[in-house]
């Protein structure tokens, strides 16, 4: 039983806006690439409310696309009540996808001149 959604896509890995933001946020958390930090970063700096469920779903989706991977770390702080954490990492393909998105965006932003200022 496999549908298109269930099958991991290999090439090319296209990402949506929120996926791109999540990838960027993971990359920004140099020393603490954990979901809570990623979420906080997004909420504080991308000026949007990010629900925990949406973030987990996106992470699952990105992992299916092969753009994100994680490993499970045992918790060593009492705040987590002994529950483990996911240490997130952007894969090589993930980095490539981010790079591709940046190129596309820059191409489209480039040459707009003052078009954005008049609106």
């Amino acid at each position: 039983m496999s549908t298109d959604e269930d099958c991991p896509e290999t090439e090319p890995a296209r990402v949506g806006e929120f996926e791109l933001l999540v990838l960027l946020a993971i990359l920004r958390q140099a020393d603490q690439p954990y979901a809570n930090q990623v979420r906080r970063d997004l909420e504080e700096n991308a000026a949007r409310r990010v629900t925990r469920g949406a973030l987990y779903r996106t992470l699952d989706r990105l992992r299916l696309k092969g753009l994100v991977e994680w490993e499970i770390e045992p918790s060593q702080v009492p705040e987590r009540g002994g529950h483990p954490m996911r240490r997130l990492a952007v894969t090589r393909a993930g980095v490539e996808a981010v790079r591709q998105s940046r190129t596309v965006l820059l191409t489209f932003f480039d040459g707009l001149g003052g078009a954005l200022d008049h609106r």
């Binding site: 039983m1 496999s2 549908t3 959604e5 269930d6 099958c7 991991p8 020393d31 603490q32 954990y34 979901a35 809570n36 629900t51 925990r52 469920g53 949406a54 987990y56 779903r57 699952d60 989706r61 992992r63 299916l64 991977e69 994680w70 490993e71 499970i72 770390e73 045992p74 918790s75 060593q76 702080v77 009492p78 705040e79 987590r80 009540g81 002994g82 529950h83 483990p84 954490m85 996911r86 240490r87 990492a89």
Partner: protein, 919 residues
């Protein structure tokens, strides 16, 4: 991927004991809904960590609400997460609680399985899978069909009697008022005097209406003449307001008016719906027309609605063709206890308050007239009165049907488990291709739902056939059976059972399959289908459960069978073999007792002279019915309480024809006529209760008449084979001043009924062509009908038990067959190492016998708490009868051994060379 946990900044560094704890319930809900996997642990950790932050920022109260909303949001979002994968790659996991690999499906998998996404696709896949395996389709359809059919049929019988409201307006307000007058008086001790009804109507405050009908209406059939063939009709004499009290309106026409109930021979009738359709073709112009009943014109004033079948509700197995008004006055009060009373409680009254009210009225009436007899009233809800006696049997049947359904489920689940082992590679492949566990589970459950749906189609047909038979048969005397049918509610029930079966049998194998480790799947694909020790254990457990359930049914079936046999073996006190009874209505043209007597004599002589007839007699009341009793007394003896005796008006040949032995004295003779002194024959119970020493020559008083006892007859079980004979008195028909309106002519013959009946019918017609000659019954069929509710229960339970044993044996066969195939390598190696074939067979059979024995022990233990289901239905046997238990155990173990023998013999034929080469 770089990793350095040591550099991680800790949120607060506070000691563990100071860490605030989030709301436990919300945490438990998250924990439950997210299942047992990695996501749950990580999410709970993330939530806790943020919660602690929220406490620091906003305080404990706000933080708790924050946690609850966050948890809710998380659960809602994750419930439909289509991207969740089964397990993280093994290479990425290490240590701790998170390292647990999921076993079985998680709650979230089930939630995902319930989402509508991709349902069409999964449904098509399930259809293909079911179509690919016609053997499974046939097996599942047949066993679930039989199970669902039986369950639905039982539900159909239960529905009108126990579930649906009675076919009256606000039926919960209807009550039955039984008289309690003397002991052992049969129908006469629960019916009331019309004077009581009149006084209750006037003096009680708890009823919106009180009404009743003449309980002995069956004794006076009527003849319809005029257009078409003469026909014998049964009419019920009812108080004019009975239909109003019950809340039944005629479908056409009107109710009776009070002035129409002035005499027992009124001139208006309301037709039953059946009779109206049968005789008058449903002619709506019937109201106002005149029909001739008993040679008197009667005006039809209304027709009863189809949904109110008087006989089906109140007098099962008796046809009722019309209602006629019955006067509630002094003339009928003098007849004694003859009335069934029903009432409609006032809005604010309860059964208890109405009973208190009635007790007050009864006490006041008794005080006002201390000599008044036949006064009393016990209120029961009408439903309780109608369905109460049948409730234990019906509840037992429902429980048995449910047990049988469980066996069906266990069997099918077993089959699916065995089949599941062959599908491990397929499931693993799908999982590898990215199908989530929720989707896999859903497809497997859809397959079993489809199978159950096929079964429900067959079950629906079987239930329709069964209910059709039940509704039409006259062999079963249970109320409301004529309205039994497969209707919308039954079909919904049928589909509900199918869905339940589909889920029950699908979930366990599906959950088992998706929890398998990839390594096992890989192993399975290489070694061939092997379900492993856990699946074998599960399947053996299911077999033990099947045997245990079958044991419960078999024990109950055995107890009922033994009870039935004991009832059948009961000496009724007369010999019913070879006796046929005809109802002979006294022709209206005959006037006076002498005319009637000579007519009877002529008829008896004509029938007695027919070939094969050994004796002919007359009685007004056949055994196992009627239940009319009269109050009796012994002149000169003061009684503390009224004594009732069943009275039979018989001719001189009656005791001899029914072979009722005389213990003392003489039978009636031709000399006992209206000119001679009144005589009576009493039964032994009455003789020993009322007289010291011999009863012969002693006197007996009925009302104002005094009779001399000339004989003492053996006791006859007059009411039923399961009730004491009670006190009985036989009076000679030849001494009656008023001849009865009808008699029963009993004919003993050596001929079979099929030969005797046409011969006697021809004789009756030759004596009087106007006499209906088709109302006859064998006494054997009367006995059968008296025990029909017991036989009905027994037949169904026996069928359930037989199916249960068959299914259990199929289950054992299936499990062992599969086990033999699965373990062919092991068996081959054992045989190669020198194990004898005989030993292989013995080992396999012994293990099966052991499983069966465990099942039997569990089943036997289960019958102890369940025995109250059956104890009310037993006769002369205890619910823990060791004989029945031992027989059941022997049958089940034997069946198990036989079922195991075939696969075991097949295993013994294993060619070890071939097996070893494959290895």
């Amino acid at each position: 991927m770089s990793r350095d946990p040591g550099r991680r900044r800790l949120p607060s560094g506070r000691p563990a004991s100071d860490v605030p704890r989030p709301p436990r319930l919300s945490e438990a809900v998250v924990s439950l809904l997210l299942g047992g996997g990695e996501t749950r642990h990580v999410a709970l950790g993330d939530l806790r960590e943020d919660y602690v932050r929220q406490v620091d920022l906003r305080g404990a109260f706000a933080a708790r609400w924050w946690y609850r909303l966050e948890a809710l949001d998380l659960c809602l979002q994750m419930a439909w997460n289509p991207f969740r994968t089964a397990d993280p790659p093994a290479s990425l996991r290490r240590g701790g609680a998170a390292d647990r690999q999921l076993e079985g499906a998680t709650t979230m998998d089930w939630i995902e399985a319930l989402s509508p996404r991709g349902l069409g696709h999964d449904l098509r896949s399930a259809l293909r899978a079911v179509r690919r395996d016609p053997k499974l389709l046939a097996f599942a359809t047949v066993i679930t069909g039989v199970g669902i059919g039986a369950t639905t049929a039982v539900f159909s019988v239960l529905q009108p009697l126990l579930i649906e409201p009675l076919p009256f307006e606000e039926p919960e307000r209807l009550v039955w008022i039984a008289n309690v007058d003397g002991d052992g008086g049969g129908l006469s001790s629960v019916t009331s005097r019309t004077g009581n009804l009149r006084d209750f109507r006037a003096m009680t405050d708890s009823f919106d209406g009180l009404s009743g009908w003449f309980a002995f209406f069956e004794r006076s059939p009527h003849t319809l003449s005029g257009d078409g063939e003469p026909e014998t009709l049964i009419g019920v004499d009812v108080a004019h307001d009975l239909l109003a009290v019950l809340g039944v309106d005629p479908v056409i026409g009107r109710h009776f008016r009070p002035d129409e109930a002035r005499s027992p021979d009124g001139d208006v009738v309301i037709l039953s719906h059946d009779f109206w359709e049968r005789r008058f073709g449903g002619d709506e112009g019937i109201v106002g027309r005149t029909v001739t009943i008993d040679d008197r014109p009667q005006v039809v004033v209304g027709v009863l609605p189809a949904e109110f079948d008087f006989s089906s509700v109140f007098t099962p197995n008796t046809r009722v063709d019309f209602l006629c008004p019955f006067p509630i006055d002094d003339s009928t009060d003098a007849w004694g206890n003859t009335l069934h009373i029903v009432g409609r409680l006032a809005d604010d009254a309860t059964v208890e308050s109405a009973q208190a009210d009635l007790d007050r009225v009864v006490a006041a009436l008794a005080e006002a007239d201390p000599r008044r007899w036949g006064l009393g009233g016990e209120i029961t809800p009408l439903r309780e009165r109608i369905s109460g006696p049948y409730r234990p049997a019906l509840v037992l049947l429902a429980a048995s049907a449910a047990v049988m359904m469980l066996i069906v489920c266990a069997n099918l689940a077993n089959y699916l488990l065995a089949r599941g082992a062959r599908r491990v590679p397929e499931i693993s492949l799908r999982s590898t291709l990215g199908a989530s566990r929720g989707r896999i589970v859903r497809q497997l459950v859809l397959e079993s739902l489809l199978l159950a749906l096929c079964g429900s189609l067959l079950g629906g047909v079987l239930a329709a056939v069964a209910t059709r038979w039940i509704a039409q048969t006259s062999a079963i005397s249970i109320p409301m059976l004529s309205s039994v049918s497969v209707n919308g509610t039954t079909l919904v029930f049928c589909l509900f059972v199918a869905a339940l079966v589909g889920l029950l049998v699908g979930v366990a194998p599906a959950s088992h399959l998706v929890g398998r480790r990839p390594a096992l799947a890989a192993h399975a694909s290489v070694r061939g289908a092997s379900s492993g020790r856990s699946a074998r254990g599960l399947r053996e457990t299911l077999v033990v459960a099947e045997v245990a359930l079958a044991c419960v049914l078999l024990v109950f079936g055995g107890l009922l069978l033994e009870s039935f046999q004991r009832v059948s073996r009961t000496d009724l006190g007369f010999d019913a073999e070879g006796v046929v009874a005809w109802r002979i209505r006294t022709p209206a043209r005959l006037q006076g007792a002498d005319d009637v007597e000579s007519f009877h004599r002529e008829l008896i002589e004509a029938v007695a002279s027919s070939p094969g007839v050994s004796s002919v007699a007359l009685t007004d009341d056949l055994p196992l019915g009627g239940n009319r009793s009269w109050g009796i007394a012994v002149p000169g003896v003061v009684q503390d309480e009224p004594i009732n005796a069943f009275v039979h008006l018989v001719d001189a040949a009656y005791l001899d024809t029914l072979e009722i032995p005389l213990a003392e004295g003489r039978p009636f003779t031709a000399g006992d006529d209206r000119e001679s002194a009144p005589v009576a024959i009493v039964n032994q119970s009455l003789a020993s209760r009322l007289y010291d020493g011999s009863a012969l020559g002693r006197e007996l008083r009925f009302g104002h008449g005094v009779f001399e006892v000339v004989g003492v007859a053996a006791d006859v079980l007059h009411q039923s084979a399961e009730q004491e004979s009670g006190l009985q008195v036989y009076l000679p028909l030849s001494q009656l001043a008023e001849p009865p309106g009808q008699v029963e002519m009993v004919v003993r013959s050596t001929l079979p009924p099929s030969s005797l009946v046409p011969q006697v019918r021809a004789t009756i017609v030759s004596v009087d062509p106007t006499l209906p000659s088709d109302e006859h019954q064998t006494l054997a069929s009367r006995i059968d009908r008296a025990s029909s509710p017991r036989r009905f229960t027994l037949t169904l339970l026996a069928a359930f038990a037989a199916i249960a044993v068959l299914l259990a044996s199929l289950g054992i066969y299936g499990v062992l067959s599969h086990s033999v195939i699965e373990r062919s390598r092991e068996i081959g190696i054992r045989m190669a190492l020198g194990e004898a074939r005989r030993r292989v067979v013995a080992r396999l059979v012994l293990r099966t016998a052991l499983l069966a024995l465990v099942g039997v022990l569990l089943g036997a233990a289960a019958t102890v708490p369940l025995s109250r289901l059956v104890s009310n239905l037993l006769f002369g046997i205890h619910s823990s009868d060791p004989g029945v238990l031992a027989t059941t155990a022997a049958i089940l173990v034997l069946v198990a051994v036989v079922a195991a023998l075939f696969p075991a013999l097949r295993a013994a034929r294993t060619d070890c060379a071939v097996v070893l080469r494959r290895t």
